[in-house]
Symmetry: C2
Subunit: 131 residues, 2 copies
Amino acid sequence: MSDTQEHREEPDLPYDVFAKACPSRCTLENVTGRWGALTLGALHEGSLRFNELRRRVDGVSEKMLSQTLHALERDGLVHREAQPTNPPRVDYELTPVGREVAARLLELIHCVEGRMDDVLAARTAYDAHRA
Amino acid sequence: MSDTQEHREEPDLPYDVFAKACPSRCTLENVTGRWGALTLGALHEGSLRFNELRRRVDGVSEKMLSQTLHALERDGLVHREAQPTNPPRVDYELTPVGREVAARLLELIHCVEGRMDDVLAARTAYDAHRA
């Protein structure tokens, strides 16, 4: 439509994480942040309660997990279901959009895990070169 | 081999980002961090010089881009090529492992960009519910 749009690589997508002001950059950061990525990855295995999630995402504090879940819930990636029981029980699960995103994220995670031998060899070589 | 390994979901992978002490967690953070993700994404389009990268990764400071490139180079994902010219010219490009990782990352980025209408609608609903 406009000149600007002709230069875009994917002209049918109005969002671009490379642009500082694009809201997709914030969502990408919620998805790939230190705890966001592990939380989405954990929930891809099925719905979990808060404390189950906290055990699965090794090292996360209660506060950080709570903040992470709020951000993912606000972006519509995680659904929070409070059961009217006593004591109250809260389950977290991925929404359909959250499942799509988490699936891509897990492919990335598995790719990184599968290449760690190369990564660690590169690190050793890099550090030796600079020692 | 061991009891522990029998309980793993992918017994042939010795690395697990969910484990706090696993080195793959650090690499995942280098790959998905605020600037790491955009730097890998930009270099997936081809090799770039420092200032070209800085323009492409809108909003990054010189210091942060430099730190990001060092971490990615140390992990063997980015190759730094200094040309013996005057003034010196430095090109950055993805290694073969970096290309694999960046390809998965771009699939995730495109998935997020493609779902931003849903994400923004979810945010509006979330904020309205809490206002």
